[in-house]
Amino acid sequence: MGDEINSKRKQDQQQNIQKRRPNKNYALKKRLPLRPKEGDNVIFITKKTNFKAQLDKCCDLLTKGEKDIILHGLGAAIQRCCNLALQVEALFAGTCQIEVNTGTVDLVDDLEPITDDLEFGAQVRHSSSIHIRIFRTALLGAN
């Protein structure tokens, strides 16, 4: 499921941050990305949350009568988001369909000065994103 790769990546993350740092005088601090429309049927996929828990959440929503659910994945979580959608599709064999959109999300990073004679800064970073809509094609009782 890619979790092994993720755990390996996690170790290297510290170094990655330093690579991404634009200037030695600033420390890069991340902000929360802007969210698209929120709702009960919208799930933001993270790498940290247990995969099984996210899968169960999707299944629960669908079985409880939600017509469609929307999964959002950002950056490294895209792979997991795809995995999840495919798993859900397989579980609801034939009663669900997937609609995939990809896009780019603008992220803002704070640049915190390390020395006293500098101002705060901000930089915009772009990250690829995926938006998957899973919707039912057959009626509830069919499952």
């Binding site: 902000r31 802007l34 993270t46 000065p113």
Partner: protein, 769 residues
């Protein structure tokens, strides 16, 4: 026979003296006199006082109700009642009497004499367990068991805390002299200073570690939050100090200024070279502001729902006329606030921005029922998030006269309701622009929360701090509550710092030591309240100090020389380097002075199952500890004291028996009842004290007390909801960390105080102390 006469003049034997010495006369009868007066004052009669009254002054049920006695006798009567063992009954005034407004107010002022109350005290006292801390009566935890709900509020909703107990201090003076003053109080290596360019515009608030003057790295006082405020051209520094540290902060400020003054007198030549601090004035603004802390993503929605900014303001409004030459930027701020109102979390905004707003009375925007404020999310222009406007931080709240006028013109709840019923003919309709209610300046400060995704999820713990003028605490508080904020107390503050993996009241500061003492006392009391058979035998478990962490002994054990003081490593660069060494298992190259008396703050996460609890010991692993599947266990230690305790207990029991027997004998002899003086002193007896000492071993070395070497201690450990496993904040000796890295480990062993099992935990250094 003739009767003999007594007097000599009549032929008797006795001569009268020519003179009578009155002093001698009185002195020889002094004993009689005292006996007489005593018997009058304290009659040795079996009669009670009210029985000795003349018949016409006696009243029915006099003994029962002391108010029927003459007032001068009441005290003696109460004494007698106490002696006879009857508890003196004093009737509590009726509830109706007590609840009369004047009496209630008198009672409230009486209760506030010793400790200070916050403005929301009465609201809290009805719903919270209150504790006394740092000279305040503060909310500790809500009465409904809302531990998990409070966590959920911080991570998904909004937790609201009243932190008005933070003491604001306003420092005026030229920027150079303020910079000079703070250069004595803190170190450049710990992060940005107060006069950093990033802060001086007042756009951002900062935080700073403060030390005693020129004693860095020792003598840590605490972390203060500061911001520059502009009332005119020259900025002033406003700092918020934790109440446990306020005395030390004040003392160090005054010592700096005084020592500078004395220098000024000594030689005028040196002043030109050194700095002149005499232009600094320090003003402690007790009770001038309210500060509320909103934590959690929904805090932004709550603020946007409850704070309605004003577009235009009438100059007739009283405080506005005082700020004629101060630009309020009403229109711009209104636009900015509406632009950022559709965000889903405060952590999407620039970190630590300060926004001064002028808002309508919060009572207008309250919903009828408690409803959850939901953000209306619509696409936001990213440029707004990148740049922060220059006018944002300006606020008339910092003007003293404005605050005074606002306080004077407060409309109380009663008057507000009266006003609404009088003017609003259609119920439910509100006229928000009613000129009768003044507009209020407030200042918002953003808190970014976690900004490092490898440590905690981004944005956890983010929120807003809102500073209000005094008097407006409760109206704002209730509006936030009605929009779905969950109130929290001190327990939530502690819990939040644990969840965020931050330290709370560091042990190298006085406030931290006091906190440790308090916890120790509490735990000890709890421990010794249990019967001996239900107590954990810490000696058998090899735990030397289960209630308090002996930092000094730990450091002495890990260094060759003895040190009399210690500090916690706060230099970000060094901590980062150490973390890198720990990750890559490469030896430490960096070195800094006073390594021997240095503690390093660490964040522990258990691997797999297991919880770390408070005061657990952090141990050095041996080679092969992680490879075997067997759980490492501490062998049982021998408790040499158990025999002594047993003997002592038997001895004491014998003694008690002896005393009892003697008493019975005495009773029989005297036949009359001897009333034993009932002294219920809280101080335990000598026997109890000596027994307690035998339960906890005294020690002078901790490092090699168990099968694994002790590296440090956990100060706060519990299950962490963000990580879904046991996490803890603790401190280890720097030399122990060095040893750990040298032996190429990046995991450690942890053992709880009540267990003999060692569990494996990951170790991370805490960077933002």
């Amino acid at each position: 026979m003739e009767a003999t006469e007594f007097d000599a003049s009549l032929g008797g034997t006795e001569n009268l003296p020519i003179t009578a010495n009155s002093f001698k006369f009185a002195a020889s009868r002094s004993i009689e006199i005292t006996a007489m007066t005593e018997s009058i004052l304290r009659p040795n009669k079996t009669k009670l006082i009210f029985q000795s009254l003349p018949v016409h002054m006696r009243r029915r049920v006099m003994s029962h109700n002391c108010k029927r006695l003459p007032r001068r006798l009441r005290e003696g009567h109460m004494e007698q009642l106490k002696k006879s063992g009857l508890p003196p009954k004093q009737k509590r005034p009726s509830r109706k009497y007590r609840r009369r407004p004047a009496n209630l107010l008198a009672e409230y002022t009486r209760r506030q004499r010793r400790v200070t109350w916050l403005e929301t005290h009465i609201w809290h006292a009805k719903r919270f367990h209150m504790t006394e801390r740092w000279g305040f009566r503060l909310a500790h935890r809500p009465c409904d068991k809302a531990f998990r709900a409070c966590y959920r509020a911080t991570s998904a909703h909004c937790l609201l805390q009243d932190i008005s107990y933070f003491v604001p201090i306003l420092i005026k003076g030229s920027i150079e002299s303020i910079e000079n003053m703070f250069s004595l109080l803190c170190s450049k290596t710990c992060g940005l200073g107060v006069t950093a360019k990033a802060f001086i515009s007042g756009n951002r608030a900062g935080s700073l570690n403060i030390f005693k003057p020129q004693s860095y790295p020792f003598g840590f006082i605490g972390k203060v939050e500061f911001q520059w405020v502009y009332t005119n051209e020259i900025p002033e520094l406003l700092i918020f100090v934790h109440p446990s540290q306020i005395k030390e902060v004040e003392a160090s400020f005054s010592s700096i200024i005084l020592s500078e003054d004395s220098k000024l007198l000594k030689d005028s030549k040196r002043i030109k070279l050194s700095h002149n601090l005499s232009d600094i004035s320090i003003n402690v603004l007790y009770g001038q502001f309210n500060r509320f802390r909103l934590t959690g993503p929904k805090s932004h929605a709550i603020l946007t729902h409850s704070l309605k900014t004003v577009n235009t303001i009438k100059l007739s409004s009283e405080w506005v006329s005082k700020t004629k030459n101060f630009d309020l930027y009403l229109q711009e701020k209104h636009e900015y606030w509406s632009n950022i109102s559709n965000l889903s979390s405060p952590s999407q905004l620039p970190s630590r921005i300060v926004i001064g707003l002028i808002v309508k009375d919060p009572r207008w925007s309250r919903p009828k029922k408690r409803t959850k404020a939901e953000a209306v999310i619509s696409p936001t222009n990213i440029e707004i998030l990148r740049n922060l406007p220059k006018y944002a931080p300006s606020s008339p709240l910092w003007h003293t006269n404005v605050r005074e006028i606002i306080k004077k013109n407060i409309i109380t709840n009663g008057k507000f309701i009266e006003h609404v019923t009088k003017t609003h003919s259609v119920p439910g309709e509100t006229n928000e622009d009613d000129p009768a209610l003044q507009n209020i300046p407030v200042v918002l400060i953003q808190r970014p929360g976690s900004q490092n995704s490898t440590y905690k999820k981004i944005g956890y713990g983010s929120g807003w701090d809102i500073i209000l003028p005094s008097g407006y605490g409760l109206p704002f508080w209730l509006t936030f509550i009605m929009f779905g904020a969950r109130p929290g107390g001190l327990r939530e503050t502690e819990h939040l710092s644990h969840e965020k993996g931050e330290t709370y009241l560091c042990p190298d500061s006085v406030s931290g030591t006091l906190e440790e003492e308090r916890i120790e006392l509490q735990l000890k009391e709890h421990y010794f309240k249990r019967p001996p058979s239900k107590r954990v035998n810490f000696i058998k478990l090899g735990i030397l100090s289960p209630f308090r962490c002996p930092w000094m002994i730990l450091l002495r054990d890990w260094s060759s020389c003895a040190c009399d003081n210690f500090f916690i490593l706060r230099e970000t660069n060094i901590i980062n380097e150490l973390q890198n060494c720990l990750n890559r298992k490469t030896p430490i190259i960096t070195s800094f002075p006073n390594e021997n008396s240095c503690l390093v703050a660490v964040y522990l996460q258990t691997e797999g199952k297991g919880l770390i609890k408070d005061h657990a010991i952090i141990c050095m692993p041996n080679f092969g500890d992680f490879k075997s599947n067997k759980v490492l266990q501490e062998p049982q230690h021998e408790d040499k004291n158990s025999k002594i305790r047993k003997e002592k207990r038997l001895e004491h029991r014998k003694l008690l028996k002896k005393i009892r027997r003697a008493q019975i004998k005495l009773k029989k002899k005297l036949t009359e009842k001897i009333t034993k003086p009932k002294t219920k002193s809280k101080e335990p007896s000598e026997y109890v004290k000596s027994m307690r000492d035998l339960w906890l071993k005294s020690f002078d070395s901790v490092r090699h007390a168990c099968v694994r070497q002790t590296m440090g201690y956990v100060t706060k450990g519990a299950f962490s909801f963000t990580e879904a496993k046991g996490c803890a904040v603790g401190y280890i000796a720097f030399n122990a960390l060095k040893y750990l890295i040298d032996s190429k480990f990046n995991k450690i062993l942890v053992r709880n105080t009540t267990s003999n099992k060692y569990s494996v935990a990951n170790i991370q250094l805490i960077n933002n102390i």
